[in-house]
Symmetry: C2
Subunit: 199 residues, 2 copies
């Protein structure tokens, strides 16, 4: 009565994604190959192609897995919690940016993934769902800080989060500027304190 | 004594970029082809490939030209000036996003361009230089508002601008949410007024 098909498949998935992640971080997006991952995983190519029809699909699955451990802590201090979470996002982006041992300001693999989401309707939908799910946690963190009176009662949580996360992605994908804890602190200060002259 | 080579080349460049822009907006990135642009422009393919070695190079030149008219007005009202400028950026992103008559939340051509900048070192460098040049104008606008006392004396102009422009790119490239004048107004309010409880 015990079906063993399902667990075995998940083990293969797990092994394939681990190997694909190692390959992509080592060689970058251009160096990732479904055929080579299949070989290293000891799995049939057809199995992989059934699960991930293109390299773009496999790459996006790898990144989703690498990002899954970006947890949000709620310590009751919204400024510290936001800085810590933005630092995690920045670290993930830097890891992707440096995949294939790239140096310098290029977006690297981050750029390829954005193009993959733009190119394939199914990857785009999946990526947007993953971000919606993750970002809901950040919006809930902001909402709790609002309710307990740390943040303005009339704040726009979505604009606030877009501004902070967006600035990190903008630097990585567009201007090439560095993102790190120091920059996360600058962002949170600017977004929380605002920029008008005090009255 | 009059060299006519230079002006004639610039006319060809101009015609090629105009034709390439029309093709890309009509068909999207996938539908752009250097060979077809050469044919429509009545120019030799070799001429085009010498100037733009790959389709990525041509596409980036097209976008730089389309963005060149995003001027920044300084009316002395920083809130209105920022909203107007962000609305122009949003309109440019929406035009690229919709190239090839794409509907829906996909980043479309914007995603392809980010990947092109990540893939080719020379395109990346050129793109970053273009953004640095354009963003310097926005930073100068913010600086003038700071000097005349509209904005805080101790503001972080770069973080402030990254947050507003970054949120627009983040929505187009990552979450798929819409960007328009109403959203630009939300961004400027959040960034200027801040999000802490008033004391």
């Amino acid at each position: 009565m015990v079906s063993r098909g399902r667990p075995r498949d998940m083990q293969v998935d797990e092994r394939v994604l681990r190997i694909a992640a190692a390959l992509m971080l080592e060689r970058g997006y251009a160096g990732l190959s479904i055929d080579e991952v299949a070989e290293q995983a000891g799995a049939a190519k057809t199995t992989l192609y059934r699960r991930w029809p293109t390299k773009d699909h496999l790459a996006v699955a790898v990144v989703a897995r690498l990002q899954a451990d970006d947890e949000i802590a709620d310590t009751g201090d919204i400024r510290a919690d936001l800085v810590n979470y933005l630092e995690k996002i920045a670290a993930g982006l830097n890891r992707m940016r440096a995949a294939g041992h790239r140096q310098g300001p290029s977006a690297g693999t981050v750029g390829e993934l954005v193009a993959a989401a733009a190119r394939h309707e199914d990857i785009g939908r999946l990526t947007r769902e993953q971000y919606a799910e993750r970002n809901a946690l950040a919006l809930a963190l902001i909402e709790r800080a609002r309710v307990r009176g740390e943040l303005r009662a009339d704040l726009d949580a979505e604009a606030l989060f877009d501004q902070m996360a967006g600035a990190l992605y903008y630097r990585v994908m567009i201007t090439g500027a560095p993102v790190d804890r120091a920059y996360a602190e600058r962002l949170v200060s600017s977004a929380l304190e605002g920029n008008l002259t005090c009255h």
